[in-house]
Subunit: 157 residues, 2 copies
Amino acid sequence: MKIEPLTKEAFKPFGDVVEMSGADIININQNFAQRFNDLAFVDVAHEGGSVNISLAAAMPRPQPIAIKMMERHPLGSQIFYPLQDEPWLVLVCADPHVLSSYRAFKASGRQGINYARNAWHHPLLVLKQQRFFVVDRKGPGTNLEELMLDKPFDLQP
Amino acid sequence: MKIEPLTKEAFKPFGDVVEMSGADIININQNFAQRFNDLAFVDVAHEGGSVNISLAAAMPRPQPIAIKMMERHPLGSQIFYPLQDEPWLVLVCADPHVLSSYRAFKASGRQGINYARNAWHHPLLVLKQQRFFVVDRKGPGTNLEELMLDKPFDLQP
């Protein structure tokens, strides 16, 4: 599977890319700071949900990476923003049963993503140990759907 | 003014400290990641507000730092989490007119803060150029109150 550079346009069917590039810039703090404003749609209110702020620490998997399952969140969007400036991988698909619907992206260490509600994605795929800032949903209801693949495949970073 | 280390307990009157230390840890992603869960109260829904995800890039100010104004947000909380692992400063107060009510903190590069709604704080105070992940409010209404100090003072990092 080809690994593409992550761009807002290519990722649009799956959610938002959180990055400075292309953002609306606002000068703030007496011009001692710039704000790159309004970068993602936080979609977590369904069925009584609210915003959950978390941190995550991810470990690299053995390579080639065995892709055995995909997941999605029917009740909420989910942002991961890297806390070290190192590239990482993002694997999404339109339909987990259809291999041709998968897209693999290499995100830079200054690109986060916001998985749209119900967008199929693989759990975090890092190339080194990497920490992330996470914005997703907490609240009642079942917000995780995991699908084990009939035909697992390998991803070679 | 003494600059204290940032701790959850010391910062409690002003909001949350977003850090891995002391958090509830959940193993996720087939044990290839840990999640440090539910670290801040995102309080942005007042008067039709919603969550705004942004990035910021802050510049250091000349030292000693001239403290001339404080600000607060009557309609929403505000998270800043550093994207480089470098210490930065946090200046808050209970009453901008009362110098003894000020508290200055040195945050590590792995500590973010969430200013509670209505908590008085100074704009970003960094020691080097530093980027931040920001979670605050967008929506109708006036959400910024700035107060120019009668007696400006200097902060020596």
